[in-house]
Amino acid sequence: MNLFVDAFFLQAGYNAALVAIGAGLLGFAAGASGTFPFLRKRALISDAIAHATLPGVGLAFVVMVGFGGDGRSLLGLIAGSAVTAWIGLLVIEWISRRTRLAEDAAIGAVLGVFFGIGIVLLTVIQAMSAGRQAGLESFLLGSTAGMLFQDAIVIAVGGSLAVITTWLMRRPMTLVAFDSDYAASMGYDVRRIDLLMMGLVLSVTVIGLKLVGLILIVAMLIIPAVAARFWTDRSTSMIWIAGGIGGASGYLGAVLSASAPAMPTGPIIVLVAATIFIFSLLFAPDRGVLAALFRHRGFQARVHRRQGLLSLAAQHPIRETYTLRLLAREGLVRPDGVPTDAGRAQAAKIARDERRWDVAREFYQDAGLTGRYDGLTPIEDVFTSDEIAEFDRRLGPPVTVRGD
C-alpha cells in the first residue's frame, strides 16, 4: 500500500514517475482523439491503423540499421509506422469508395494483410540480424522499462497537438460524424475531415506504440470514448470526459503497475479503463443500465395499469396476469378480476381522461400539444384547469358512442 501511495505521488523512482506521466498524457490524448471515430461509427479503424504500423516498424528498423544506427530510435519508429499506417488508411478508403465492399470488410482486410506483411518482414529481420531480441512481443505489448525523458517529451508534445487539433476542429468533425451528407451539402470537404479524424488517431497510435504496444493503444482509443458516451449527450463534453477517463486510466494504471512487482503496465492501464467503462455502463445516471431498468419497469407498470383500467371501464375482462397483479396490489381489483369500488372510481377517472383527450384533439390542432399525448400523459399535465373545464362542458353527461 505504501508503495502505491509513493507511486501515486511520483515518489517511487524516476522511471516509474516518467512512465506514469507519460501514460497519463498518452491516455488523455488517446481518449480525446478516439471520440470522433467512435461517433463516426468506425471505432475499429483504430485497430486497422495500429496493425498497419507493423510493416513500417520493420522497414524503419531495417533502414536505421542500414544507416548504422541501432534501430530502436523512437522517432525513426514513429516515422516508419506512420508511413505504412497512412498507406493503410488510404487503402481502406479506396476499397470502400471504389468497390462494392463495405467499410468493415475494407478495415478487416487491411488489418490482416498489413499485419501479415509486417510478420513476414519481421521474420526476415530475425533471420538477418541473428539474435535480435526486440521482436513481436514488445511491439504488441509495449515496453516501459527503457523509457527515456525524451520519449515522455515526444508523448507530451505529440499528444498535446492531437488534443488541441481535436478541440479546434470539433465542430466540423461533429457535423461529419453525425450526418456526413448534410455536412457535404454545407460545403465541408467530408473526405478531408475524415482523413483528419483518422490522422489524429494515427498520430496517437504511433506515439504510444512503444510505451503500451499495439493492442493496448487501440484499447485506449476506444474504451474511454465508449465510457464517456454514458455520461453526456454532447460531443464537446465527450472529448474532455473521454480524455479524462483515458488520462486517469493511464496514470492510475502506471501507478498500480509500479507498486506491484512483475505487473506489466499496458494491460493494467487497459483494465483500469475497462473497469471505468463497466462502471459507466451500469451506473451512469441517465444512460446507464440500472437507470434504464428502473425507468423501463416503471414505464411498463404505467402502461399495464392504464390499459387495465381502460378494460375495466369498458367492462372487458382483463386477461394478462401481470396487469391483474398490478391492479390487485393497488386494491383496484379483487383476485378474481372484479373491480373494487376504488378500482371503479379509478377506471372512470382514466376513461374521463381519454374522452377529454379526444375533445382536446378535436379543438386543438396544434400538433405540439396533442403530440404530447402518448397514451400515458394525464391531461392535467398539458392543459390548464379552465381549458379542461371547457372540455368537460362539451362532454356533458355520459353519452353513447360516435358511429365508428
Binding site: V303, A351, D366, A367, G375, V401, R402
Partner: protein, 275 residues
C-alpha cells in the same frame, strides 16, 4: 360492413375500446397492442380488426408507428403487451397463411442474387430448409413474376432494378407464398406510375380471389380509390372502419393534428353529411 359483432358499450368512454373477443372471421385481430422503444410508446394499446377478404389501409403521419404496428403484428419486433391473432390462431401457428412485403429500402439490393432467386424465396414454406425446388415450383415462380410484369427480368441481378421494379419483385415473392393474408409496408412509396398501376391491379385481383390485403399506405389521395377499410393511426388507434364512415375530415384532423391544410382535407375525405 360492421367492424364488431357486439353492441357498442355505453360508458364514460366516447368510443368503443374494442370487442372483448375477436370475431372469428377476422383475418388479423389486434387487441391492446403496445410497442415501445425505450420509454416512448411507438404504438399504444391498439385494437383493430381486419376482416377476411378486405382491402385495408393503415394511414397516419410520420412516426405514427405504422411500420412498427405491422412488424409487431408479425412478431418481427417484440411487443410490450397485447394480443395478435391471425384467422383466429396464434401467430406461430398461422405463418403459412401470411405473406409479408417489407419496405424495399430495408434490404441491401447489392446482394448477389437474381430476381428469380428472390421470388423463389417465397416458396420456402413449401420446400422447407432442405427440400428441392421442383420444376413445378420454378414455373410457379416464373408465373408470379409474370403477374407483376417482370417475367423478362428473371435472371437479372437485383441491384440493376429501379425502385418500382424492386417493389414488384417483392410483390411477386409474396405471391409465390400462396398466402391468404398479405401485409405490405408502403408498397407504393417511391414507385413510378406504371408500377403503381401494376401493383394495385395485382392487389385487386387478390381481393377478388378472397385474399385479405392490409397495407401501410402513405398517400391519402388514393385511399378512397384503392381501399375499402381503413385504420387511422397516430400511436393510438384514432379511428377504424369502412372508408365511407371512418375516413372523415374529423378523423383525419384528429390523426394528423395540425399537419394537414383544411382545404386539402375536404378534398380527401368523405363528405360528412349532417355535420
Amino acid at each position: 360492413m360492421s367492424r364488431t359483432t357486439q353492441p357498442e358499450i355505453a360508458s364514460e368512454l366516447g368510443h368503443a375500446v374494442g370487442p372483448a373477443h375477436a370475431p372469428r372471421d377476422a383475418a388479423l385481430a389486434l387487441q391492446g397492442l403496445t410497442v415501445s422503444y425505450s420509454e416512448k410508446p411507438a404504438v399504444f394499446s391498439v385494437d383493430a380488426t381486419f376482416n377476411a377478404g378486405g382491402m385495408s389501409a393503415i394511414v397516419g403521419p410520420n412516426g405514427a408507428g405504422k411500420s412498427t404496428l405491422l412488424k409487431a403484428a408479425l412478431g418481427i419486433i417484440p411487443r410490450l403487451s397485447g394480443e395478435v391473432r391471425v384467422f383466429g390462431k396464434l401467430l406461430r401457428n398461422a405463418r403459412a397463411h401470411i405473406a409479408y412485403v417489407p419496405q424495399s429500402a430495408s434490404v441491401d439490393w447489392d446482394f448477389p442474387t437474381t430476381v428469380l432467386d428472390v421470388v423463389q424465396m417465397g416458396l420456402y414454406r413449401k420446400v422447407g430448409l432442405l427440400g428441392r425446388l421442383s420444376g413445378q415450383a420454378q414455373s410457379q415462380a416464373n408465373e408470379c413474376l409474370d403477374r407483376v410484369g417482370m417475367a423478362d427480368f428473371a435472371h437479372r441481378q437485383i441491384g440493376q432494378l429501379s425502385g418500382g421494379q424492386q417493389q414488384r419483385v417483392f410483390l411477386a415473392r409474396a405471391l409465390a407464398q400462396d398466402a391468404d393474408l398479405f401485409l405490405l409496408d408502403e408498397p407504393f412509396a417511391g414507385v413510378d406510375a406504371a408500377t403503381e398501376r401494376a401493383i394495385i391491379g395485382v392487389l385487386k385481383l387478390l381481393k377478388n380471389e378472397g385474399k385479405t390485403v392490409i397495407a401501410v399506405h402513405h398517400d391519402l389521395a388514393t385511399v378512397r380509390d384503392y381501399f375499402d377499410h381503413v385504420l387511422l393511426l397516430n400511436v393510438r388507434r384514432i379511428a377504424e372502419g369502412p372508408v365511407e364512415t371512418a375516413f372523415t375530415t374529423e378523423n383525419l384532423q384528429a390523426t394528423y393534428g395540425g399537419r394537414l391544410a383544411a382545404t386539402h382535407l375536404d378534398e380527401l375525405a368523405v363528405a360528412d353529411g349532417g355535420r
